[in-house]
């Protein structure tokens, strides 16, 4: 079988394959380590039972939904108190409740969001209006 311009085609193919598989072999064996999330804020340090609003697993997967529910309840229905299933009460507020405990936003929320590759303007857009806690970095 005769292949016209075989040299060029093969060279082109090789370049293509190398480029297309670049992400796979470049990061091979070097998966970015999950971030270490800091819980050492003054408020959490004082807690006897270090516990979030919901169990940890539910918070990791469902905190955006919880925030969305809180927002709807506060702004549209005028309700501001949340009674968790364990009977504990919380003020439904992003900047006054979540951030009271997680006052290290850059080392906690932001760190995980960066790792998870959230769109740059996804979570931070809340902070265009909501006032982030003061941190001395």
């Amino acid at each position: 079988m005769k292949m016209y311009d075989g040299k060029y085609i093969l060279a082109g193919l090789i370049v293509f394959i190398v480029l297309a598989t670049f992400p796979v072999w470049f990061t091979h064996g070097k998966a970015a380590p999950p971030p270490e999330l800091k819980l050492d804020t003054p408020v959490i340090a004082k807690m006897a039972n270090k516990q979030c609003v919901l169990p940890k697993e539910e918070m990791i997967t469902g905190h955006m939904k919880l925030l969305n529910d809180w927002r709807t309840q506060v702004v549209r229905d005028g309700k501001r108190m949340y009674v968790a299933s364990d009977g504990k009460t919380y003020e439904m507020s992003l900047q006054n409740e979540c951030m009271k405990c997680h006052s290290n936003k850059t080392l906690f929320c932001d760190k995980c969001h960066n790792y998870a590759g959230l769109q740059k303007d996804a979570d931070p857009y809340c902070w265009n209006c909501h006032i982030a806690p003061k941190e001395n970095k």
Partner: protein
């Protein structure tokens, strides 16, 4: 395997029953759902309203007093942009001819024509702004407050066109650098591209406090309360004096009354 039609139906029925009972088991096993409640200390009313006694303000207040405005602006992080076009207004001042157009006789005492009137969102019963909002970002609460949901506002400014009182302002730019009062870190600011206005201090009512402007006025020119409660401050103020509302001919039924 051979099976008859009857057997097939029997087994099918049993299976359906079994699947159905799963939901029952679910419902019984469910732990208590989280609940959303009103704050215990929250103030509530059937119809929040305000009476503004301009006479008291002019006679008893210091000349040039802006206590109410300052209190509002520092509570809600209202910026001072510095130009009239981009001014953000929650509570502001205006002259008689602009406050009560078509209600003037032209022969009012000089004092009334020259003195400043205090304006804020009227929290109308028939609020035109809520009818035109395409996303329902602005809506009526059952207690009469015309509420803004900033999360839904797309900045189309239909509400500004619909409001006959000029009570709504658009954020043409990021307001944060223009906040001249001390930042209240418990209340959010706004961002470029949303419309804002007075919220009758709904966040303070939820915490059991009366609006900031009412609290700040030393000469008690502002009265706040439930219009449907004959014993409330507003009703008492309105029962003892003659009052008018802005642009009554429009049928918007403002919740802010003026005693002149």
């Amino acid at each position: 395997m051979e099976t008859g039609r009857r057997n097939f139906l029997k087994i099918g029925g049993l299976c359906t029953l079994g699947l159905g009972s799963l939901r029952l088991v679910d419902a019984i096993a469910k732990t208590e759902e989280p609940k959303f409640l009103l704050n215990v200390q929250a103030l509530s009313a059937k119809r929040w309203a305000m009476a503004i006694d301009m006479k008291k303000c002019w006679e008893k207040g210091r000349p040039g007093c802006t206590d109410c405005t300052l209190a509002c602006h520092s509570t809600h992080n209202v910026p001072d942009i510095g130009t009239q076009k981009e001014e953000i207004k929650w509570i502001w001042e205006e002259k008689y001819e602009n406050v009560f157009p078509r209600q003037e006789s032209g022969m009012e005492p000089e004092a009334i024509r020259e003195k400043p009137f205090i304006l804020l969102c009227n929290h109308c019963t028939n609020a035109p702004c809520t009818r035109v909002c395409p996303t329902k970002a602005t809506f009526k609460r059952p207690d009469g407050i015309t509420m803004m949901d900033f999360h839904r506002c797309i900045g189309c400014r239909y509400c500004m066109a619909a409001c006959p009182y000029g009570a709504r302002s658009f954020n043409f730019r990021d307001p944060r650098p223009f906040i001249k009062t001390e930042l209240n870190t418990t209340f959010p600011t706004r961002e470029r591209g949303v419309v804002e206005k007075c919220n009758f201090c709904e966040e303070r009512l939820a915490a059991g406090k009366i609006p900031a402007c009412v609290e700040a006025c030393k000469c008690k020119a502002l009265c706040f309360g439930d219009l449907e409660d004959p014993k409330s401050d507003v009703r008492k103020a309105l029962a003892s004096q003659f009052s008018i509302r802005r642009k009554p001919e429009l049928g918007t039924e403002p919740g802010v009354y003026y005693v002149i």
